[in-house]
């Protein structure tokens, strides 16, 4: 299990910058956006995902991030709002 985990992480890291064609290099630039978009979608579709609270909080967090572009601010605002909403 450790070998499989390590191997999948190493596989991508072994590709050197010089060995990558231009099209692939452009595609790699978009990997974070694509993967984060996928992960967020999958997290929000769980059966017990508490969506009626989480979706508005996610929208508010997006607004904070759009304005301030600071991870700590987005997380503090989002989790703070979420805990407040759960309390009420």
């Amino acid at each position: 299990m450790a070998a499989v985990t390590y191997g999948s992480r190493l596989a991508g890291l072994l590709v050197s910058q010089d060995a990558v064609p231009k099209t692939a290099a452009r595609a790699f630039r978009f990997i974070p956006i694509a993967v984060f978009g996928a992960l967020v979608t999958l997290f929000f579709q769980g059966e017990d995902a508490d969506l009626e609270l989480r979706i508005p909080v996610a929208l508010a967090t997006s607004a904070v991030m759009f304005r301030f572009r600071q991870l700590w601010a987005g997380l503090a605002a989002g989790m703070g709002l979420y805990f407040l909403a759960r309390a009420f």
């Binding site: 956006i33 993967v35 996928a38 997006s62 991030m65 989790m79």
Partner: protein, 212 residues
């Protein structure tokens, strides 16, 4: 990093509790955190072990859950100039959160990547150790809502990256492919499919860009 540590710690503790309940010894529980260092895989492995699953099933599940890391490595190898030794080390420490924070930082200094990843490694392992010691004292992090920090973190990392229509298109297509894929596949392959297809879309949409 502090918010992410605060998110990682309860899950490290919860993993230790789950592993203990599944019959893993304290040594095995901690060893998995040190050697594997992959939260979702460790949780799954503990659950499968407790159910008496075959080793092959546990390994296949780990592969399905972790295959998205190939994409992380591809992306990071373009951003950071890493020596061979650094690549071998980074492969052990690479997680979703380390990738996200390192990439979003905008720096190409490998020190930032390793600092981020190492801090999470220690946070996870200390939390595992605490969980081994705490036994049944700690409540389920999901019941406390602490699991929400992870999708929130990825959303917070995603928003600043979406600077225009191309990036927005990539994010939307990735979300759609991931959702469709999850109807038939496990999470890992769904994320990989979304990552590959949406990234290729981004490459196609920027095919007329003049290289920097």
């Amino acid at each position: 990093m502090l918010p992410l540590w605060l998110g990682v710690v309860p899950f490290g503790i919860a993993y230790a509790l789950a592993a203990g309940e599944a019959g893993l010894s304290s040594f095995e529980t901690q060893a998995m955190s040190v050697v594997v260092f992959a939260g979702a895989s460790q949780f799954s492995a503990a659950a499968l072990f407790g159910d008496g699953a075959a080793g092959f099933s546990i390994v296949l599940t780990a592969l399905a859950l972790n295959i998205r890391h190939v994409l992380y490595g591809l992306s990071l190898s373009q951003r950071f100039e890493l020596s061979r030794r650094q690549r071998l080390l980074a492969a052990h420490l690479l997680t979703d959160e380390a990738f996200g924070v390192a990439y979003a930082s905008g720096t190409s200094n490998p020190g930032f990547l390793f600092g981020t990843a190492t801090s999470l490694f220690f946070a996870w392992n200390l939390a595992t150790l605490a969980g081994i010691g705490l036994g049944g004292v700690f409540a389920d992090p999901s019941e406390l809502g602490l699991d929400f920090i992870f999708p929130l973190a990825f959303l917070a990392l995603l928003v600043p990256l979406v600077r225009g229509r191309v990036e927005l298109s990539v994010a939307v297509v990735a979300a759609g492919v991931a959702w469709l894929g999850s109807q038939v596949w496990p999470v890992g392959p769904s994320v990989v499919a979304a990552g590959v297809m949406a990234s290729l879309l981004g490459a196609w949409l920027t095919r007329r860009e003049v290289p920097e």
